[in-house]
Symmetry: C2
Subunit: 377 residues, 2 copies
């Protein structure tokens, strides 16, 4: 089941189509990256969907912008559409039930395919519905935000939030295909674009020092939505993520590095109420906290901490947690995070830019003390 870009297309936009493969044996798939892939000018065909019925799941913000374009691309395929409300606060069991209801009311069978058109919330919840409807059906990711294109649409993590913790209910379920149309990034508001850049920066911090260096100089172009720069950022991010996912699909080891900034970040998101801080914003602040704590432990040089903080500032991202959050609240929220193992807190920390590692059994008393001091400043 693949979307095939037509190499003979006369459209100039097709000259820059990139393919990134996620190698996972029989669950392998491709990420197609390019500008105007969904537009009328693009000439792609959907192959191998066979007689599969499609349900496009999108939200009320994305639908007016891209639903019609996607439907044009799917011409000839039987499809229905479900439009959900927009926002992280809807990534829950009630919204999930709307997808199940639509599938059952319209009698979608096991051979059906879900198509997630939207950002990370739409991708996560639609993917989870695909993972669990009739014990698993196919799905395709069509991410329309930078964050979804560089992170959440790739790697098969699907799920919903619980009032007591983010992404606590979920499943590993790989998509059959990811179509990242960088032209959709033109409609993102600045805040969403910056939030997506947080995850882009993350790949540099984890294990890609050259990419971090490129970002230091390319950030102004990215913020100005230079399509070539954005496409390159998406491509490198997807390649970096695909390599980690291929090595450790179910997060038994290395994949945990992708959680850099996420344990602090999830605490901020949960404490502030889903949707008030964007995921990328919380992760940006979380990465600064991880870097600062790494420095406190004597692991990360002051100069690297400064570069990281400067990068977030340049990207217009917050570097300070919300003033109302106390160290105790941080610790309580972090204790339920999935990164906890056998009751001991694990954190992704940094020994340098491009050198993240998983710290097992973090000294919670020390972390609490340090957080208290950090937050008091």
């Amino acid at each position: 089941m693949t979307f095939i870009a037509d190499a003979n297309s006369s459209s100039k936009t097709h000259s820059t189509i990139k393919m990134v493969d996620v190698s996972l044996a029989e669950r392998s798939y491709s990420i197609i990256i390019g500008s105007d892939l969904l537009g009328k000018g693009a000439s792609y065909s959907v192959a191998d969907l066979g007689k599969s019925r499609l349900l496009i799941v999108t939200n009320s913000t994305v639908a007016p912008l891209y639903l019609e374009k996607l439907q044009q691309g799917l011409e000839g395929y039987s499809h229905d559409t479900l439009i959900l409300p927009d926002g992280e606060q809807y990534k829950n069991g009630e919204t999930l039930n709307l997808i199940y209801d639509a599938l059952l009311q319209k009698r979608f069978d096991r051979g059906s395919t879900l198509v997630a058109l939207g950002g990370g919330v739409i991708g996560d919840i639609t993917g989870y519905a695909a993972a669990t409807y009739q014990r698993g059906i196919d799905f395709i990711q069509v991410p329309t935000t930078l964050l979804a294109q560089v992170d959440s649409s790739v790697g098969g993590k699907t799920g919903i939030n619980h009032p007591l913790g983010k992404n606590m209910i979920g499943a590993f379920h790989q998509p059959k295909l990811v179509i990242a149309d960088t032209a959709t990034l033109n409609s993102l508001d600045d805040r969403q674009l910056r939030a997506g850049l947080a995850e882009v920066i993350k790949y540099g911090l984890i294990d890609d020092l050259p990419f971090f260096g490129w970002l230091e100089s390319a950030l102004p172009q990215l913020l100005q939505r230079d399509m070539t720069a954005l496409a390159y950022a998406v491509e490198v991010s997807c390649k970096d993520k695909a390599a980690v996912v291929a090595a450790d699909e179910r997060e038994a080891g290395k994949r945990a590095l992708l959680n850099l900034g996420h344990t602090f970040g999830h605490a901020i998101e949960t404490a502030m109420g889903y949707g008030n801080w964007l995921h990328g914003e919380a992760v940006a602040t979380g990465m600064v906290l991880a870097a600062a704590y790494s420095h406190h432990l004597g692991l990360l040089p002051q100069s690297d901490l400064q570069k990281i903080t400067a990068m977030m500032v340049a990207a217009g991202l917050a570097t300070q947690p919300p003033a109302e959050l106390t160290a105790d609240q941080f610790m309580a929220h972090m204790a339920v995070d999935k990164k906890v193992k056998a009751g001991r807190l694990r954190l992704v920390l940094l020994k340098g830019i491009g050198h993240a590692f998983v710290a097992e059994a973090v000294d919670e008393a020390d972390l609490r003390r340090w957080l208290g001091g950090y937050l008091a400043v």
Copy 2:
């Protein structure tokens, strides 16, 4: 993670412990079958659970009978207990949330293990919670009904019902171990015992003619709860099921045979309201319907149909669908069943006792006509 029966135990009940292996590469596990495995007399030890925290999930009927025994066996392990209401009508999203809430409120992490103590409903919903909590944690099945011991606890099908269809939400998630204590069958009421026998008979019908022959003579002993006969029935059923599951874990082919009687049966269960007909009762009637329709198609000899009907009667099981159910209602409910493929109804039918097969693209008009006539009699 295994329960190890202690070969040096002085308990006489241990002389008849049987082990059946389910071979699924890294997801392989054992089914331990024996009498009084959970009792004080049994001397088993839990190995390899390490520091895993356990949450025992059971219901208000089973808890007073077996919870304390199980807890004795788990002495030394950190465990909590959650007691759910009893009944198929609680196999839904709301009850599932009670498990998630307990796990999150008590901060169970990814290394935790769920223990399902009860019948098929407890096993299915607990297994599904294990499949989806933090994207998947371990679980152990401790089935206490005949139906759960011979069928639902083995093979990794987990899930919940939706108002529009049974088991429509779910996941494949194999347990780490199944402990089938046949002594628990003493507390089953007769109706539950008979319902369980329906699934036992199913294995004979699918591909085990000798077992069907044994059942014809052993049925009186089984109904009188002869422990040796029951243990043998559980063992052969588990072996038959394990062989099918090992060959086709995710029901791409052969495993569909295990659905003999289930498409008709699910229609009865859904139409009558979950919990009014027991699953095994509905499946028994469904198997008679499948046999009768096979006979109508000229596939199954009259003599075999009579033997099958006689077996159900001898087991005290219903052979007639509820009088209020019309052919149209049957067809409507069967259309949403998971066995539907690319919009075409599939049914497991019989060419003989011990010779089931999957009929693709059943002629729905013919089936509807035949059902109309059958129900009118």
